[in-house]
Subunit: 477 residues, 2 copies
């Protein structure tokens, strides 16, 4: 074997690329370096593990190291790639026992992912303060929340887990009050998880509505749902500081008294891990992520990037965007694996399609939902939000569903939308995502032949109702 | 008021047209003739009424006659339009008391709907034998199924109901065994409804799989679900005859012994009501329905047709099709109302999108699902069916979802598909309907940015999995 394809990072993007490459180019070598012990885990499943809805940490693993071996991939855990020399086409790799070596590459994929931003907060030095950035953090939070003595160590049933950290957290007194800093996905999902574990939960969000990417209509209904389920939602409430000596005691706000808490979860966003390419002169773009083209190529020859560390092309704007999401990582990795195996495959565009669950409320979003984003991209946004039934009114279970559609005034083109409601609302966002990627106008959306059946959708699906109303507005009615 | 717009038929298409027209052309007259007493009812809701899931018949009414009056529409029930003279531009109308008059029209909409086909079966002369073609039939079935003395007359709480027929059926001994003839929508939905009423239900279907329009993958899972819920499903079992003197006693098959039954529901399709235009020379097309163009115009000047009596243009084939479905009736009626009010509005194309519920199983279909239909339209169909999870595997409630995609071999264009499964499967069909109407190819479908969230969809949505597999087949993998 020769012409090595070297992958840095053994999660969704890296292993998708290695697996696809291995199938399409069985004669070439593929090596995957992973600095830690974990590979291929479901980041998005961690809140559900902490909630207890998922019983075992091992359920969140997609692939075990031995399964990766079985695919003929040379996976090396505990190997940290630290620098790249694009002229020599080598990667410097350090091993867990502090040896280092130069690994030549024919093609290189940087799939180093992202990491949780801690914002201005000092999370590491306070017991009971966490970000939710990896499986060791999930295991530690799960252990910390449990009553000492009642913790079941079989929950963290993966050999890679940081056992010492888990045991230390399990031994601490169980918290009663949780402060969640940040009302994005992680914050909303962790609020549900911690209520499920019996905690009194406070959610602090900097601005006026939760889930900023989903728009106001979604943010308000999700806040209502959280409140109805016992979460104390603080909007327009930036957290200034985590208060405590050794252990978290409270969060301090810019106004009013501190709020006591003996657990804090900081979920204020993620940042791309681009340090591997420091000093190479690689171009970076949106969000500081590594700039990539339609085949996932960086500005360095034979160096690709995929997943949470890389930019992508937005389906609506045609411009560069950085939206770290799971499908994008898997898809771009797979496409790059094929391309490097001489089967050129575009990585595809992203539409920023996302869904989130908050107790019994479901929401989805796609494209340019907020006016500011639309204007930045050169559109003149017009929007309507309608509330329509999820089923025929006479069929039990019909529930109010809010659909927001955003169009460009000049062209009538659909540029974004959101859906929120308790009855099958989230999967409906895929209809809008498809319309968006097909560059449909709102009149075209209004004429879509969507399914009607009383248990699932009224004659006029909520999406059609929204399109009808937005068309009226575009026509100047 | 002058220039009358005359509408024949006061259901979805007719009243949608009249309402839209009234709003857009407030100075012109609009008259709606309805031969019976019922207007604007939810045909698709009748099985759920019979099941008892919908408590009152009045819940199935969208609009009352007084609400129609309030809209400024001149609604005349008990007025049957019997002939049209396209040269004189008049309609001959007979009233319930056998008077008749000539109604001049400036524009005419024929929205006469369809009626249940009885096939070769003598339904009218047998007590306990029904088609489910209107609200009086639904009320009669509901009364017939009830134990004498236990029937609640408030169920049929609409003044239009044929009270004498209801009372006669309520007085008959309650049936124990039901034979449903025909395994289409009505048959499947009535099987669920009658199991819900405690009957022993036999479903007889002429061919090898139920729900022929949905394809084999759906038909088989729906049959399995019906069987699991206690329905005896007879496939390849054409019914020859309804047996009985005054009351239904059994159904006779072409092979084997007759099967005893004291209730029979015949659901073998519907036929368009076109008799009003007999003798006018109007063109008819697919299914014998009235041929219409992209604005709902017939071949006669100033005469339009909409709803179950009219053809439409199919989004995939671009050819004429006849698919009587609720959204089409509403949408085409509304568009025609606008067009006649001098706001020319295309009626839109149809994709044959439909969904059906069978107990805990949900299914949807769109486009050309069966090879025969695809070949007739000039395509070379290639298909794949995959089974994929509806959620991330670790998230409770994930259920096997079967997606069938059909593409044209030469162009790779998506031409049809179906989805079946117990977890939110039906609404997912709208994603395929949108892709189909956007003329997407299977590679384009594979690159769609669909939502990923563990409670709602795995990283690779079942639709994306199916597209990936079908792409492989198209590539000759």
């Amino acid at each position: 074997m020769s012409d090595p394809f070297v992958v840095v990072g053994a999660d969704a993007a890296g292993l998708s690329a290695a697996s696809k490459f291995r199938r399409e180019a069985p004669d070439r070598e593929v090596v995957v370096f992973e600095k830690g012990r974990w590979i291929s885990y479901a980041y998005c499943g961690m809140p559900y593990f902490i909630e207890g809805r998922v019983e075992r940490m091992s359920d969140l693993l997609s692939l075990s190291p031995s399964e990766v071996d079985d695919r003929g991939i040379d996976l090396r855990r505990g190997h940290e790639a630290v620098t790249v020399d694009p002229d020599a086409k080598t990667v410097t790799v350090e091993t867990a026992d502090s040896n280092s070596f130069e690994q030549p590459y024919d093609d290189l994929l940087v799939a180093t992912g992202g990491r949780a931003s801690t914002g201005p907060f000092d999370v590491r030095d306070l017991d009971g303060a966490f970000t939710l950035h990896d499986m060791d953090a999930a295991a530690a939070i799960d252990a910390y929340v449990a009553d000492p003595g009642a913790y079941d160590p079989d929950r963290a049933d993966v050999s890679a887990v940081d056992r010492e950290r888990v045991e230390r957290n399990a031994a601490m007194p169980a918290p009663e009050t949780a402060a969640i800093v940040g009302g994005g996905y992680v914050g909303v999902e962790m609020a549900e998880a911690l209520v499920g574990r019996g905690l009194d939960v406070h959610l602090f969000h900097r601005s006026g509505h939760l889930l900023p990417d989903f728009g106001e209509a979604v943010g308000e209904r999700v806040a209502d749902e959280l409140t109805a389920k016992g979460v104390t939602v603080h909007t327009n409430a930036p957290v200034e500081e985590l208060v405590g000596d050794d252990r978290i005691e409270a969060v301090a706000l810019d106004e009013g008294d501190p709020v006591d808490a003996d657990l804090a979860i900081v979920g204020v966003g993620i940042r791309p891990n681009t340090e591997l390419l420091d000093g190479t002169g690689v171009e970076t773009g949106e969000g500081g992520a590594i700039r990539t083209d339609e085949y996932g190529r960086t500005s360095l020859p034979d160096v690709y990037a995929a997943g949470d560390c890389a930019t992508a092309i937005h389906a609506v704007t045609g411009e560069e965007a950085w939206m770290p999401l799971g499908l994008t990582a898997n898809r771009t990795g797979r496409a790059i694996g094929a391309t490097i195996a001489d089967d050129p495959s575009p990585v595809g565009e992203i539409a920023g399609t996302a869904a989130v669950k908050a107790f019994d409320m479901e929401a989805g979003r796609v494209g340019l939902v907020e006016d500011e984003a639309a204007r930045e991209a050169g559109f003149d946004p017009v929007r309507e939000t309608v509330t329509a039934g999820s089923r025929s009114g006479y069929y039990p279970g019909a529930a109010p569903t809010d659909v927001t559609l955003v169009a460009d005034r000049d062209t009538g083109r659909l540029i974004g939308g959101s859906i929120v409601g308790p009855d099958r609302a989230a999967v409906r966002i895929d209809t809008l995502a498809t319309a968006l990627e097909a560059d449909m106008t709102v009149p075209e959306v209004e004429r879509l032949d969507l399914a009607y059946a009383p248990p699932f959708s009224p004659v006029w699906d909520p999406i059609l109702v929204a399109a009808k109303v937005l068309n009226g507005t575009l026509d100047g009615d």
